[in-house]
């Protein structure tokens, strides 16, 4: 099967669901991921201060903002990879620190913006996603195998399972990393620039994948995306500006409040076309 074929196969069942839903599903329990009065920084520099967010299961939230506004920092703080100056993060109702390392790893999967150079095969990388489940000895049960297979099918990377990462192109490698994250089968997914290196058709596939994870899988997906059009296909937005959090809410709320223009400090014009929101670059002279 070529990967085009896999992609087509993955695309078909979701075709029916490709309408815009601006309302996230109702929250009936504790938010999947939340933070209160979060304050983080590096060294002397404080990047974010006093941020409070609720992220529900079954929705896809995109973080947008100019460079240096703290998208990656927020993600890392929520993943527990950055020590907090102040505030707390809770995962499925409990404080992040109260989960054991293994439990946390099973419930929260993280995709880094750039991964280290490695010479493992694709299937081994994806297999590492099952680390929290299968442990040090890598004794794989059938559910591990099944999870890996599902993940690789969904990202269209099954055909190069036995190839070493160094022999793959940037886009192919990115899909292997995504498969690794999906293989964890965690209820919370944190992704830093998941569509890096991918060409537009594959970016679409990933967007579709994230939506179906959220809608069908009930996963809480949070991703930092710098491509505005891609970000606008999510359910909710977190908009960060150079002064901190500008707003957090549905796309509609974001557009009504013109959060994007405030965050980027310049006129950002969004248009709706055929049920999809698009960013229209202003090629004439600018500003507020």
């Amino acid at each position: 099967m070529s990967d085009k074929g896999i992609a087509n196969a993955a695309r078909a069942p979701q075709q029916a669901q490709l309408q815009l839903q601006t309302e996230p599903p109702a929250q009936t329990q504790a938010p999947a991921l939340a933070c209160r009065a979060l304050s983080v920084g590096y060294g002397r520099r404080t990047v974010l201060e006093g941020v409070s967010l609720d992220l529900a299961a079954g929705s896809w939230t995109a973080i947008v903002g100019p460079n240096g506004s703290g998208k990656s920092t927020l993600l890392r703080a929520l993943a527990g990879l950055l020590p907090l100056r102040r505030g707390m993060v809770s995962l499925q109702g409990r404080a992040l620190g109260s989960w054991s390392r293994r439990e946390r790893a099973r419930r929260l999967a993280w995709l880094a913006q750039s991964s280290g150079a490695t010479n493992l095969t694709a299937s081994e990388v994806v297999g590492l996603g099952r680390f929290a489940h299968s442990g040090w000895l890598a004794h794989r049960k059938s559910e591990d195998d099944a999870a890996m297979r599902r993940a690789m099918l969904a990202t269209g990377s099954l055909s190069w399972a036995a190839r070493r990462l160094s022999t793959l192109s940037g886009g192919e490698r990115q899909r292997v990393y995504l498969a690794r994250v999906l293989a964890v089968e965690a209820p919370v997914l944190l992704l830093d620039e998941p569509t890096t290196h991918l060409d537009p058709p594959h970016q679409e596939d990933i967007a579709r994948l994230l939506r179906s994870q959220a809608r069908l899988g009930g996963v809480c997906v949070l991703s930092a995306i710098h491509d505005l059009s891609m970000a606008l296909t999510a359910d909710r937005l977190i908009v960060l500006g150079s002064d901190g959090l500008v707003g957090h809410g549905t796309i509609r709320e974001a557009l009504d409040g013109d959060w994007l223009s405030a965050a980027f400090r310049t006129r950002v014009s969004i248009v709706e076309h055929a049920g999809v929101y698009l960013w229209r670059p202003a090629l004439e002279a600018p500003s507020l």
Binding site: R76, A79, G80, L81, R101, R102, R104, A105, R106, L108, A109, W110, L111, A112, S114, S115, G116, A117, T118, N119, L120, T121, A122, S123, E124, V125, V126, G127, L128, G129, F131, A132, W136, L137, A138, H139, R140, D145, A146, M148, R149, M152, L158, A161, A162, R164, R180, V184
Partner: protein, 349 residues
Amino acid sequence: MSAPPASLGLGAPGVESRVSSPMLLWLAGCLAITMLLTGASLIVGTSSIGTSVGWLLAPDAQGSVILWQIRLPRTVGAWFAGALLGLAGAVAQGVFRNRLADPYLLGTASGAALGVTISLLAADTSIAGLAWMGKIGITGAACIGACAAIALTIMLSRGVLQTANLLLAGIVVAFLLSAVTSLLLLTKPEIWRAMQVFLLGSTGYLSWTSATLLGIVFCVCIVPAALLARGLDALSLGEDTAQSLGLSLPMLRLTLLGVLSLATATAVGQVGIVGFVGLVAPHLVRETVTVNHRQLLIGAPLCGGALLQAADLVSRWIIRPAELPVGAVTACVGGAYLVFLLWRRSRDE
């Protein structure tokens, strides 16, 4: 390694695993080469008397002393020392995520050299020093010196959490201890020759005691290393990613650095400072077979053992009955291999 290959994380689900058979071939090959080298070591010695198979099977009294008390423990000890160095090199390259890491990057070589210098000086200067030296010997002094250097490095870098700090501290400690060694040598230049022998490595006096010690330490080191190998795989994806997968980085680093220290200190104590084995063995394994760290941490010791065995053989044979320092042989071979790598790189560009 009794579990079937699938449980080692090899091969994708549903995809034929082609990786395990090269590894098995490699293991078989290494073992075969080791057997061959052991046999050759029994035959090669100081003169032509030992080369006939008949002598090998039915040696006279002196011949059997030479065979079983000198040649066999020497080659077995050399194998274990090489295996320890190969393992330490593979662990160092994994923990520091740098293909050019070798076992001595925490300052162990300089520490061992300083230990030996102090013990030689003490023996020459006073009777008390002589008695103390007699008790622990050069091997003990080298081992203690190596461990002291590692402790100093970890203290300087304030813990094992930051690999960059560790590397830097290792370099500083190496320079510092080398300088102290040089200063001490100036006071008594006569021990230079003994120091040179140590610095270039020597397998000459490996007895059954040494070989057994090396063997025990090898078993103690390889078990935790093989168990933690998957953690190194995760670490190769990045520290954040590894942490998010549920890996405890401090525990991993501490344990593996402990393995590295024990393996290197023991090997250096017994055979002196033998370079390149720890660097080249993991490279050779990576070139020919492997991918993941479990294979590497098992293949590298096997390769290292065979390498040092071969080097010991060459050092004894080439100018017999005189002997080359084994470190000089490994330096030549290792250097040639690195030159070959460079050439291949430039050819590929």
